[in-house]
Symmetry: C2
Subunit: 211 residues, 2 copies
């Protein structure tokens, strides 16, 4: 379930191979990864990969599924909470994702690639149904706000795009920021920590001022 355990002590061989595979797959991608790379990274032999996971593809599918679960995990509790305001929900969601992405910065590019190469395969696994559902409290709150504020003529999709963009994209582009703008890993993480509070503020500003 964990995509990046800090230190794997007393892990079984199966777990060690899976973690090794996760590291190699997320950095090199599926096609560029050789089962030999995974074996070497895990410290075990090539044959054990097939012994535990039957094939390279099945191992990849398991890892991809676990990463997707990291994305949708515990989201429902946040968006369907009746005791938090719309603004609080946005703050909690963004904070939640930035925390997760600081721990697993390689996930977005990894998932976006698979989404691009194999949309149908992933889409069914995403299970976002729980979110687009009208019964979710966040959607209800949004519609109340949209109803009250007559000037809110902007397509709500722009807001969704902005939240996802400002939260996720920096992680996807971090090699560029690090190597070109000369930003270290620590400085980058510090910037992302700042964005936990900044992005909700900006988003609220965008919602309120867009006529």
């Amino acid at each position: 379930m964990k995509a990046q355990p800090e230190i794997v002590k007393n892990a079984t061989t199966e777990e060690k191979i899976k973690e090794a595979a996760r590291r190699v797959f997320t950095t090199k991608g599926y096609a560029a990864t050789r089962t030999r790379d995974i074996a070497e990274e895990s410290g075990y032999n090539l044959a054990l990969i097939n012994y535990y996971f039957r094939s390279k593809e099945k191992l990849f599918d398991i890892i991809m599924l676990e990463h997707l679960q990291l994305f949708i995990h515990s989201i429902k509790d946040i968006v369907d909470n009746q005791s938090t305001s719309l603004q609080e929900k946005i703050e909690i969601l963004i904070g939640h994702y930035i925390d997760m992405l600081i721990k697993n910065p390689e996930i977005p590019l990894f998932v976006l690639n698979e989404l691009n190469a194999n949309p149908a395969k992933l889409i069914e696994k995403l299970g976002f149904n729980q979110i687009e559902n009208d019964n979710v409290y966040l959607v209800k709150q949004w519609k109340e706000l949209a109803g009250a504020k007559k000037t809110l003529t902007i397509n709500p999709m722009h807001i969704v795009m902005n939240v996802l963009s400002m939260t996720i994209f920096p992680f996807v582009a971090s090699p560029l920021l690090r190597d070109r703008a000369g930003i270290s890993q620590e400085e980058f993480n510090k910037l992302m920590e700042e964005r936990k509070k900044l992005i909700p503020k900006w988003i609220l500003g965008i919602i309120m001022t867009t006529t």
Copy 2:
């Protein structure tokens, strides 16, 4: 120089192979692309790829370089223009990139992958030196604004992140938007056309209100 010619008439064999390679590389990635795929896509034989381009890797490098040039092309003229305001520069830059990305939506993920897999190789080719240079007029205008507005204590990198994020990320995530949110290609492009004016407005708002 063109990454996506509308219709290639009277193209030489070399050009046809290059265009076929561009299509296959950008959709499947370098590792997952077989020279046989390129040959089939081009309508020619496998041997001609090596005849014209010596190797799969050299062909890939040529295509990557052309895509990078699309990104930095004519930027200098925009950012160093002394007769446009800071706001106008932002509007022109964003409009310029959205136009380019609507024509070549697969470029960002393609470039970001290579940047992730092989940072050193790309960074030197990027030639962004012309932009980070203090002599560039946009930088001068930004510093004037920052000097005049004492409350402008935000790290400028946030602004850069926001512009890049809100402009580029939707294209990277478009399979998600199309298949999950049920947005068609036309609707997506229409949203991006709207964003040409919206993003500069939002960015200016962020600059002015962030204390």
